[in-house]
């Protein structure tokens, strides 16, 4: 990974919602090495939503299959309502595709943690309109108005 990719990202906080703790640990290490602050790992819906409400991360990396019967798409719906962009990190590609409106992109498993760092680097800039980084090949971006970027709806008559 190049020095620019290792650059710190002060104040940039990420939330990982993943039921496979070992995969999540590897991801957390790599993202922290890249300078991100990563919140405590969780694989549960309510924990993820509570952490997001408390810390308001800049981006949430959400697996679709979570612990128990928790579902990452339902988590994404709540996170989007809070204005937190979601990146799906699931091998369930068709389900991720079906939930494009609640996420900003999808990086399907299997991914290497380094690929994920590049995807996060790109997405955080992309969401601010900065296209200075190339979009990683494995990342699918769901371009549509996101919370905070969409024009305000017309007030009801």
């Amino acid at each position: 990974m190049s020095p620019s990719e290792r650059a710190t990202h002060p104040g940039t906080t990420l939330l990982i919602v993943e039921d496979e703790i070992l995969a999540a640990m590897a991801l957390k290490d790599e993202l922290e090495d890249a300078g991100y602050h990563v919140l405590d790992l969780t694989g549960r819906h309510q924990e993820a939503v509570a952490a997001a409400r408390d810390r308001h991360p800049d981006l949430a990396l959400v697996n679709i299959q979570l612990q128990g019967r928790d579902d990452g798409i339902e988590v994404a719906v709540e996170l989007k309502a809070m204005g937190i962009p979601v990146l799906f990190i699931s091998g369930q590609i068709s389900r991720a595709q079906s939930a494009k409106t609640v996420a900003v992109g999808s990086l399907p498993k299997p991914y290497s943690p380094i690929e994920m760092v590049r995807a996060v680097n790109y997405l955080l800039r992309h969401l601010k309109g900065d296209e200075s980084l190339p979009c990683p090949a494995a990342l699918e971006v769901f371009d549509h108005p996101q919370p905070g970027t969409a024009p305000a709806p017309e007030p009801a008559a």
Binding site: E20, K109, E115
Partner: protein, 365 residues
């Protein structure tokens, strides 16, 4: 003794026709030009609970309790009566008293014979209800198996992702560069298989063939993300491979690509040298060639400097499994490693020539 000729050959011919129809093992009807029944086979009457003695001169639509009077059957017979040969077979649903809904395959054919003024139609009727139900059940079972197989593939991919993550965690925590390199290589090998499983899980069948260009591109993207910086010094391109092979073959090809690309990235471009690595797959009939070509420093000329490691062993073993030979040649510049499978007819029971063993790994830069 000579056979006695019939008194009237027309009557004899009709008698013979009626006898043939009546004795048909498959349900059969002979209709006249107005679609009235001339003869019905005993098998037809038995299969559809009809008194054979009452069929002659009646319209097919009048049989039974009127269940034969359905628009699809009328349309089929009208088509046959018009002489249109394009659509003389159809399947119709018939609601039979005491039997419920039955699916019938009906073939209506205008007979070609010398008396064009009096057309005749032969109608074969087969009850295919059970056959269609069996086929539907089989299709549902296959669909269910496919879904299950996709789920298994998905879970395998997830499990491999976990193993790859653990290997990478170990690599990060070891203080030995050599050990770290081995663990990172193992990570790439596991990811190679994981990517294949993911691609298979996304395919409609779950056990189908793998599109090589897509697979190799994903593999190379993953390797490039880990081993190539974004300074644009090195490029990794995939050429060809616009064909599909079985999952079993593709997993071997994917591992070979992984080994050869990692090897080139590690050794072909010392001191930050720039260049391009090309992964190419071509095929002609059953013969194919997979090559990895770099434009780096090339192989050392001193054989003593060439060592054989795990990567070499893996490529050789997989090539042998694929009944392919490995060849290393100068790339002008760089090095080109080709794995070539040539389908050769066996002579007697003699097996194909084994793959030639050569070293693939270069000395560390």
């Amino acid at each position: 003794m000579a056979a006695r000729l019939p008194a009237n050959s027309d009557e004899s011919a009709l008698s013979l026709t009626l006898a043939v129809v009546a004795s048909s093992a498959g349900p059969l009807l002979l209709l006249d030009g107005d679609l009235n029944i001339i003869a019905a086979s005993a098998s037809f009457c038995e299969a559809f609970d009809i008194d054979c003695a009452t069929t002659r001169g009646r319209q097919l639509y009048d049989l039974g309790a009127g269940e034969w009077d359905v628009p699809p059957l009328r349309a089929l017979l009208d088509t046959a009566a018009s002489g249109d040969p394009k659509r003389d077979t159809d399947e119709i649903d018939l609601v039979r008293p005491r039997h419920g809904l039955r699916r019938l395959a009906i073939q209506a054919q205008r007979l070609v014979y010398f008396d064009k003024a009096h057309p005749r139609f032969l109608v074969a009727v087969n009850d295919v209800t059970e056959a269609r139900a069996d086929r539907k059940a089989m299709e549902e079972a296959l669909e269910q198996n496919s879904v299950l197989l996709q789920e298994v593939r998905h879970r395998v991919a997830n499990s491999l992702q976990i193993i790859a993550s653990v290997l990478l965690q170990n690599a990060r925590r070891t203080s030995s560069d050599e050990t770290r390199g081995h663990l990172q290589n193992a990570h790439h090998r596991v990811m190679s298989v994981a990517e294949l499983e993911r691609q298979l899980s996304a395919s409609a069948e779950g056990a189908g063939n793998v599109h090589l260009h897509t697979y190799f591109t994903k593999l190379c993207d993953s390797i490039a993300a880990s081993m190539i910086g974004d300074d644009g010094q090195l490029a990794l391109i995939v050429d060809g491979g616009d064909s599909e092979v079985t999952a079993r073959v593709s997993v071997s090809l994917g591992l070979i690509v992984t080994e050869l690309v990692i090897n080139a990235l590690k050794h072909a471009y010392p001191d930050g040298q720039s260049g391009t690595i090309s992964v190419t797959y071509t095929h002609r009939g059953p013969n194919w060639t997979l090559s990895v070509h770099d434009d780096g420093v090339g192989m050392p000329t001193d054989p003593a400097l060439i060592r054989t490691g795990l990567g070499t062993s893996i490529v050789q073993a997989l090539a042998k499994q694929l009944e392919a030979c490995v060849e290393i040649a100068p790339g002008h510049p760089g090095t080109k490693v080709s794995v070539e499978h040539t389908q050769v007819a066996l002579i007697g029971d003699r097996p194909a020539e084994p793959a030639v063993t050569v070293a693939i790994e270069r000395p560390a830069a």
